[in-house]
């Protein structure tokens, strides 16, 4: 996730030396006691305990007997702005993120109104610039109003700083729609995320011979669509029943 898409990073990066903490980072396979030097908010060095020099002006933190982790990123949070500020808003959500060790969060679009337009995204990014305590990314909806029928203006949203697209807890209604959304994103280099399976079968297919399909413009049956609709994957009994009756 490009840092440029996150908003709310007003504080200048700190200069720190954290001494003697037990550093854990599964990604780089670090698991042991080290000194960590932070310069301008970025990790500058991981050194043997007691060996790191303190740069001038840097703050020293005693880490002995403590654990030190990479900053966490939560890619699925609900900041509830706009529309449900009585539950949560940008400031409270990002404060609790900071308190829990999260250095960035990505907000979901199931707000009221739904985050599905560039003007709303722009307003939210302005609000985050003002109120957020950790950097925030916004993930607008794949379909308008999360209704699963019309694509959002993803190219424009991307230009406005969308970090990706999701219909959040709602499944994209049909596999065809989800596929269209993913194809459309070639235009804007985005990523989409569906946290639920699609609800409908891939739709009618009238031919499977690729050459004829391309030439004739008839709808085809794609292997990817059939695979995504395997009844073996997790779905409710109702959709499994539908799968059985609609499979051809």
């Amino acid at each position: 996730m490009a840092a440029a898409m996150l908003t709310g990073m007003r504080a200048p990066g700190a200069d720190l030396v954290i001494r003697g903490a037990h550093v854990l980072d599964p990604h780089t396979k670090i698991d042991g006691v080290h000194d960590v030097v932070v310069r301008g908010g970025e990790i500058a060095a991981v050194a043997a305990p007691g060996s790191a020099e303190t740069p001038p002006g840097a703050e020293e933190v005693a880490g002995e007997g403590r654990r030190l982790f990479p900053g966490f990123v939560d890619p699925h949070v609900h900041l509830r702005t706009p529309g449900h500020e009585h539950k949560e808003h940008i400031e409270t959500g990002t404060r609790s993120a900071a308190a829990g060790g999260y250095c960035a969060v990505v907000a979901m679009p199931n707000t009221d109104p739904v985050l599905d337009s560039a003007p709303l995204l722009s307003a939210l990014r302005d609000a985050a610039e003002r109120d957020a305590r950790v950097p925030v990314g916004f993930m607008p909806a794949i379909t308008r109003g999360l209704q699963g029928t019309e694509l959002t203006e993803m190219a424009e949203l991307r230009e406005q700083g969308a970090v990706g697209f999701t219909d959040d807890g709602k499944p994209v209604v049909s596999a065809g729609m989800l596929r269209r959304a993913m194809r459309y994103q070639k235009l804007c280099g985005g990523v989409s995320r569906s946290t639920r399976r699609t609800r409908r079968s891939p739709g009618a297919a009238s031919c499977t011979r690729a050459r004829w399909r391309r030439g004739s413009g008839w709808p085809g049956s794609r292997r990817s669509a059939r695979r995504s609709w395997s009844p073996a994957t997790r779905c409710s009994p109702a959709t499994r029943r539908r799968a059985r009756t609609s499979s051809t």
Binding site: L151, M154, E156, R180, Y184
Partner: protein, 313 residues
């Protein structure tokens, strides 16, 4: 060997296309005369069987046939027994009883013209079948470009817009590549069919390199063929894909099959600019369709049924 039907550009080789273009050029001279009439098809019947709306194709086929002195009957499903439930096959067989020399078919389903050709002894011209092909449009496009550019070898043609729902795009890709041009298709990823490269086109999703094109072919957003929402909005389409003065270079030729949605796929100022050859395309429609009818009918024996003959001899 003479052609029996014109169903797809796939059935023509470069030589056949060039023969039709040369014939069309000779007919262009007739169109310039005060008395626009040739006796070539006198006494032959041509049936226009149009199951879909059309302005250019239907009228130009009618004018082409009349210029060659054929007798033209127009047939449309509204106001006919089709409205009473008559099938395409029965309609074609009924009309074939009138012994037409040629049937010009437009139908909303791919493959309709090929089926009609099996049910009638007449020569069948595909005037558009669903999203499949529109071969006479492609021929008149090649003819128009030939007049402007000479040979198409090595020329770069960009076809921009709704490729997925366009029979013109499918026929044009085949025709332009057969004539030696490089074809690039460009549009929203949702409107570019997967695997269209197999027809010989390169795929782009942005107009960033549009300036490399010698010819820019804009396609209409075919709302009537869209069963679902393929793009978020026409506004976003216009922002990324409209052919306008800002994106075009001064030497590029602009084509459009019509009907034009001004301000959507193409800006009004481009339609009216000298770069656009849209009216020349319409003009070419008559002479190219005359040439096609001539190819199919002149010299061919009239009305002899050949049930075992291949679709294209």
């Amino acid at each position: 060997m003479p052609m029996r039907h014109l169903l797809s550009i796939d059935d023509l080789d470069r030589g056949a296309i060039e023969r039709i273009l040369a014939r069309a050029a000779s007919f262009a001279e007739v169109s310039g005369r005060e008395i626009k009439k040739l006796p070539t098809l006198r006494g032959r019947r041509v049936l226009n069987l149009f199951y879909e709306n059309s302005t250019r194709t239907r009228s130009s086929f009618e004018i082409a046939a009349k210029t060659l002195s054929a007798d033209v009957t127009n047939f449309s499903p509204s106001g006919s027994s089709v409205a009473k439930g008559e099938s395409l096959k029965d309609t074609v067989q009924t009309l074939s009883a009138y012994d037409p020399a040629a049937i010009v078919v437009r139908h909303p389903h791919a493959g309709a013209a090929a089926m009609v050709s099996r049910w009638t002894p007449a020569a069948v011209v595909n005037a558009g079948d669903g999203k499949h092909e529109h071969p006479t449009q492609a021929l008149l496009d090649v003819y128009t470009l030939h007049r402007r550019l000479g040979a198409l070898d090595g020329k770069r043609v960009w076809i921009v817009g709704d490729i997925a729902h366009s029979r013109v795009a499918r026929s044009d890709i085949l025709a332009f590549t057969k004539m030696g041009a490089h074809v690039t298709v460009c549009g929203p990823p949702t409107l570019i069919p997967l695997g269209i490269e197999a027809l010989g086109a390169t795929v782009r999703y942005t107009l960033d390199d549009l300036r490399e094109a010698d010819v820019v072919y804009a396609l209409r957003m075919q709302n009537e063929r869209m069963t679902d929402a393929y793009i978020p909005s026409l506004r976003e389409y216009v922002a990324h894909y409209q052919i306008n003065g800002r994106r075009l270079g001064p030497r590029q030729i602009v084509m459009h099959p019509g009907p034009v949605n001004r301000g959507v796929e193409i800006a009004g100022e481009v339609v009216d600019s000298p770069q656009a050859v849209i009216t020349a395309q319409v003009e070419a429609g008559v002479v190219v369709r005359m040439a096609v009818l001539y190819e199919l009918l002149a010299g061919a024996r009239s009305g002899a049924p050949e049930p075992t003959a291949p679709v294209l001899a």
